[in-house]
Assembly symmetry: C2
Homo-oligomer: 336 residues x 2
C-alpha cells in the first residue's frame, strides 16, 4: 500500500483510543495525517505516535473532509453527535462505541464476517462489537462446519478496564486502601471491587437483563449469522485490570468430536489454543496480545452433545482497538 | 437439650476447623468436653473457645472412646487414617474432607436431605459436600415442585480460602508484592493469582475435567436425588479471600414462572433472596453469614425454559463448618 490515508481518532485520550494509535504504528498502517480528537475537557493533551507527541484537538471544531477514516472510540453519545458529520464528508466511520444502530453500521470482526464489507456502500459505516462478542465469535466461527450449535451459555468475567481508565484507577486505589487498612470509598463501582466479584454490570431492565448482556447476545447472533441461536449470558465484574475471560458451555445437536474441534481451533486465524492440562489467563497470556486465547477445551462430564471451553483476550486490543484497525486495513483496499 | 456431648474436632487449626469451634460456641451447641486435634506439626498450638484457649493435641494419640461426635476437618488422607478408629469406638463421624466413599458416608445438607439421617445406622458416618454443592443444592431444592430441571450449567468462582489459610496468605502476599512493584513469586498457585482469574482448579483428567468439578456434579445429583440430571461445571479461581460465587443457568422442560420461583426462594430455609436490581457479593453480603445469598434471578433473554441466577455464600461457614454443625445438631437428638 503506497498511498497513505489521513485518519481521525475520536476519543484519542481514552484507553481504547490510545491503543488504536499504538496499533496503527505497530502494524505500520499507512497513516498520512493523524488527527487526534476528544471532547473539550480532554483536548489540549497529547498522545505519542511514532516518537512524536501529537496534540489532541476538540472534535467539535474538526472538519471531517480532512480525513478518509474516522475511528469513534469515545462514548456512544459522541458517536451519535459526530458520525453523521463524518459520513456527510465522505469519511468512513469505524465505531467502537456501540452508538450506531446495527442497520446503519453492521458489526464486523474480520476473522468472522469480513465478506460483509464487500456488500457495504460508501461512505462506509462499520461497528466493532463488544469485546466479549468479538472474542467469542472468533472462537465459534471456525466450529460451524464441525458442530451444530444449539445453545451457548456464557459467564463473562469482565476486567475493570471495560469501564476505561477510571475502572483501572479505582481497582488500584481500592486495593491500596484495603491493604493499608484505610476506609474504602467506592466511586466508579457501586461497592467494593477489590477482592470481590460483582454479579451485575450495568442497570438491569424489568426482566433483570443488563444492556451489556443483551448486546452480547444480539452481536453474537449477528456476527455468526445465527439469528435464532439461544444464548444465555451473565456478565460479572472481576478484580482484574485488563483481559476479559469467558467460561463457555455449548450444546450441540450431535455428539462433539473434541479432537476435531481442537484441530479446527488450532488451524484458525487469530486463535491461540493452549494445550490440554495448561490454561490461559488474562495476566501473562492474553494481555498485550493480538490472539484470542482458548483453553480447557473439553466435552461434558456426562453429555456427548456438550462442549466447554475458556476464552481470554485483551479487551482493549482484540476486543476493540485491534479489531477496528483490522477493519480499517480491509477498508483501505477500497476507500482511497 | 440438657445433656452435653463430648466432641472432637480433627484439623482444629485450619480455617474450617477453627470455624467449627467458633460456630459450636455461637449456636450454643451442648458441648461437654471439647477435644481439639491435629497432625503432629500443628499439635501444641491452641484455639479459643468460650474465652479459654484450648490446647490442640495430636490426633494419632487420641482415644475416640472419649467422644460421641468427631468432626473431620483436615485433609481426606487424615479422615481415611482415623475415621475407622472413631467409628470402631462408636463415635459419630462428620467428614468435611471428602475422604470417605459416598456409600459409607452420604452427603447431607440439612435444608436439602435431612430425612436421610433417619435411615442411617449407628455409629453414624455423614459427609458434608463441597461448599459449592452445599450452596447450590440449598437453592435448587425448593424449586423441585415448581420447575422440572433438565440441565444445570454452572461457573463456580472459588475464593482462595478454598485452599485454606495458605491460599489466603498467598493472595495477600502477591497483591502486596505487585503494588510495591516487587518480583512476584507464586507458591500456592501455579501462577499470578492477584488481579488474575485462573480457569483451572486442580489437575484435569484425560478428558479435561478436574476432580472438584466431577465431585460437584456427583454431589448435586446425590443431594437432589436426581441421578440423571445433566450438570456442566467450570470451577475458576478468583482473587477473592472468602465466599464462593456461582453463576447458574438452569434449563427446564416447561416455561419458568420467575415470580413463583422468587416466592419459593423467599420462603425457603437458609436462603436470602436479594431484591431485583440489587445483587449479593461475597464481600459485604455472604462472608460471615449463615445464609446462602441468591440474586440476579431472571429468565432467559429469549428462552422461556431458562432460569438464571447468582449464588454467593461463605465457603468456610455454610459451605463447610456450619453445615457440619447443623448435621451434628440433628444427630444429637439421637446419638446420645
Amino acid at each position: 500500500m503506497s498511498q497513505s490515508i489521513d485518519i481521525a481518532v475520536i476519543g484519542a485520550t481514552g484507553t481504547v483510543g490510545e491503543t488504536i494509535v499504538q496499533i496503527l504504528e505497530e502494524r505500520d498502517f499507512p497513516v498520512g495525517d493523524l488527527h487526534l480528537l476528544a471532547s473539550a475537557e480532554s483536548a489540549g493533551s497529547s498522545v505519542a505516535y511514532r516518537g512524536k507527541n501529537v496534540r489532541v484537538r476538540e472534535v467539535d471544531a474538526f472538519d471531517f473532509n480532512k480525513v478518509k477514516i474516522a475511528f469513534f472510540a469515545a462514548g456512544p453519545a459522541v458517536t451519535r453527535s459526530y458520525a453523521a458529520r463524518a459520513t456527510a464528508a465522505g469519511c468512513a466511520v469505524i465505531d467502537l462505541s456501540g452508538g450506531l444502530p446495527v442497520e446503519q453500521a453492521p458489526n464486523v470482526v474480520p476473522e468472522v464476517n469480513a465478506p460483509l464489507l464487500a456488500r457495504l456502500t460508501k461512505p462506509y459505516q462499520v461497528a466493532c462489537p463488544s469485546p466479549a462478542a468479538a472474542a467469542l465469535s472468533v472462537v465459534l466461527a471456525p466450529l460451524h462446519a464441525l458442530i451444530d450449535v444449539q445453545r451457548i451459555s456464557v459467564t463473562a468475567c469482565m476486567a475493570v478496564s471495560s469501564l476505561g481508565r477510571e475502572g483501572v484507577t479505582e481497582l488500584a486505589r481500592q486495593t491500596a486502601e484495603l491493604l493499608n487498612v484505610r476506609p474504602l470509598e467506592p466511586k466508579v463501582f457501586d461497592r467494593q471491587m477489590a477482592f470481590n466479584v460483582l454479579a451485575q454490570v450495568g442497570t438491569p431492565d424489568a426482566q433483570g437483563h443488563v444492556p451489556l448482556e443483551k448486546r452480547l447476545v444480539a452481536e453474537l447472533r449477528e456476527l455468526l449469522s445465527l439469528p435464532l441461536i439461544k444464548v444465555g449470558v451473565t456478565c460479572i465484574q472481576v478484580p482484574v485490570f485488563f483481559g476479559d475471560s469467558l467460561s463457555v458451555s455449548v450444546q450441540t445437536s450431535a455428539s462433539v468430536d473434541v479432537a476435531a474441534v481442537a484441530a479446527a481451533l488450532d488451524a484458525a486465524q487469530g486463535i491461540e489454543l493452549v494445550d490440554a492440562g495448561d490454561y490461559p489467563t488474562p495476566v501473562g497470556d492474553a494481555v498485550g496480545q493480538d490472539a484470542v486465547y482458548v483453553g480447557r477445551l473439553r466435552g461434558g462430564i456426562d453429555d456427548a452433545c456438550e462442549l466447554n471451553f475458556w476464552v481470554t483476550s485483551d479487551n482493549v486490543r482484540k476486543g476493540a482497538a485491534l479489531n477496528a484497525v483490522q477493519v480499517a486495513e480491509l477498508l483501505i483496499k477500497d476507500v482511497v
